[in-house]
Amino acid sequence: MVLNDSPDGPAARSAHDTAWPARLHVVTGKGGTGKTTVAAALAFALAAGGHRTLLVEVEGRQGLAQLFELEPLPYAERRLPDAGPDVRLLAVDPEEALLEYLDLFYRMGRAGRALRKLGAIDFATTIAPGLRDVLLTGKVKEATTRTDDAGRRVYRAVVLDAPPTGRIGRFLNVTAEAARLAKLGPIKTQSESVAALLRSPMTSVHLVTLLEEMPVQETTDAIAELSGLNIPIGKIIVNSTRPPLLADAKLTQAELKRGLVAAGLPVDRRTVTTLLAEARDHQARHALEQQLRGELAELRRPMLELPLLPDGIDLAGVRHLAGLLRAAA
């Protein structure tokens, strides 16, 4: 495999090259922890300063279209509308990827499309889930290493909204999967070159987690699995953190009452006991979160936190998180 280094000179490199040095950023985590959100924010962060990035999803869920409130994405790289940073979106569909592949190596042409109606393609990718993964990662690799006529890289970075932690090892371990397939031929060559990219410093797998027991457990398990596969691990991104209110102090009833009086608020029993109880629940939660932070720290990976945005995630939210990722060194 030929991996040309970037022809953009050092001048074109921006500060965050040091914080996010890889070219292919794979974002995984337990289901619902914020993989799609964080992947989008990272694509924005890496596009800052006029670079072009590609944000890819591979699970056929149209998560990116939902996030950006767009019509379902076709199997084509489209620029995110509304100008701003040059972020392109791509939803890789395994069926389309197989057709593209067949076309390339077996000249199936348009005839292949007719097979879709028969369900043949679904069948082929189903009996060999490894084939599906090789095709999907193959497409990601192609985009990551693509160059234009002048030999410059088309994308400064590619960010993959990847399958969840439970499936990430198998998804990225393409050579093992391909070994079950043909022993020869283009699929073998392809999977070897994908495997080489995924094990090179060009790749970095980031783990998104919440400060909850199961996501932290899955992060730990995934790191062990990926290390065993020699796949480079990037950062642990702790998502949706809450402000550390009342972190290391006791709130007494007397103090609370004095404060409420000063603010002109009622100090009846219900108000006081409710606020105290809410404060205690918050502290209990916080204590648990601190313990989980400790467990994550023991994994000895660079860690950063993204706050819970109280109004949920929209385009402005993605940009805000992108700013925080960019600032993180």
Binding site: A111, G119, A128, E278, A284
Partner: protein
């Protein structure tokens, strides 16, 4: 309002299925309901869990994966609680053994394709959950079977995956693929059949001849016995349409989860499967709703210097009130569409739920709403 005790205490209800998208608390809800059925309603109950959180599994005594129900220690009251964790591979093996002569079964087990499929095929887990439910029901050992569903990305997978696997195993497509390419043959005039020949050649090249051979060995070994296999799944599917079954859709009060819950509720309606309610899990509420987020935030700003602690307590309250507001918008979306589906609210516990005490608290909350 959902009357959980009426469901759990009704002797005609024999199966409770907890479904919903991943991570919303299906396993927790299933375990809490089963515990309550045993403790408060005196029923001989078994809970079939799938992929429980490690510490919950430990406190249910699910330390060994032996694919059979084990009694749960520490249960009070007149009933019994047994728990088991689904072992998908083992269940598949059992199915093969029941429907096949021993030599044939050995052949199937040795087939590399079987090995891959029984542990990784998407849909196998759903199918095997259905199969295990059928087995548990057959013995008449249990008054009530509470079923957790696999952590699929979509709640609908539980209903769809078995049919998908059946279609696959009946081997039509495979027989087509195995036919040597005869694209040049005289009878092949249309584009589809012609390209199929080319396609199957290409597929053989890509997948390798060995895989296709393994696959066809597997399918033909299974062919003779597959009738029984499928019949059983169809029977179980019909039981799910019977009033002895009660479906509960579990959702977190978040847009994605509630959207999934709506899809599922619609689908259950279409399949005439008895949906008894929605469980909104991990909801937040405040006993002090009259102190609004805005008011609280303003007071906090005012007190920041002189009364820092009170200010922070008010900020905590403001955060909570905002969350309550967000959650209530989301749950209204569901109740607007399904005004007849009763809802139970389970408050977010301050810490994870991983012992019987926690499960009892969840059970009480379910019954109280």
């Amino acid at each position: 309002m959902l009357d959980v005790d009426a469901v759990l205490g009704d002797p005609r209800v024999r199966i409770v299925v907890c479904c919903g998208s991943g991570g919303v608390g299906k396993t927790t809800t299933a375990a809490a309901l089963a515990l309550r059925a045993a403790e408060k309603h005196g029923r001989r109950t078994v809970v079939l869990t799938i992929d429980p959180a490690r510490r919950l599994a430990q406190s249910l005594g699910l330390t060994e994966l032996d694919n059979t129900p084990r009694v749960v220690d520490g249960v009070d009251g007149p009933g019994e609680l047994h728990a088991m964790m689904l072992d998908m591979k083992r269940t598949f093996d059992e199915v093969v053994l029941t429907h096949t002569a021993p030599e044939r079964a050995r052949e199937i087990f040795a087939n590399p394709f079987y090995q891959a499929m029984s542990s990784t095929f998407s849909g196998t887990q759903e199918y095997m959950a259905m199969e295990k439910l059928g087995q548990l029901r057959a013995g008449d050992r249990w008054d009530l079977i509470v079923v957790d569903t696999p952590p699929s990305r979509s709640a609908l997978d539980f209903l769809d995956a078995p049919a998908r696997l059946s279609r696959f195993l009946d081997g039509k497509m495979l027989r087509l693929l195995m036919v040597p390419a005869r694209a040049g043959g005289k009878s092949m005039f249309n584009l589809v059949t012609a390209s199929f020949g080319v396609f199957s050649k290409a597929v053989q090249k890509i997948l390798g001849a060995q895989l296709l051979t393994d696959l066809s060995g597997f399918v033909s070994a299974l062919d003779s016995t597959f009738g029984g296999f499928r019949e059983r799944a169809e029977q179980t599917y019909r039981v799910l349409q019977d009033p002895q079954t009660a479906f509960l859709v579990v959702a977190a009060p978040e847009p994605d989860a509630v959207r999934e819950a709506s899809y599922f509720a619609r689908r259950l309606g279409a399949e005439r499967m008895p949906l008894v309610g929605l469980v909104l899990n991990r909801v937040h509420r405040s006993e002090l709703p009259e102190l609004s987020a805005k008011q609280s935030t303003e007071a906090a700003a005012e007190l920041a210097e002189e009364h820092a602690m009170t200010a922070q307590a008010l900020e905590v309250h403001a955060l909570l009130m905002r969350q309550v507001a967000r959650e209530s918008t989301v749950s209204t979306d569901f109740t607007d569409e399904f005004p007849d589906v009763p809802v139970a609210h389970v408050p977010a516990q301050p810490t994870d739920v991983h012992d019987l005490t926690g499960l009892r608290a969840v059970g009480d909350a379910l019954a109280a709403s």
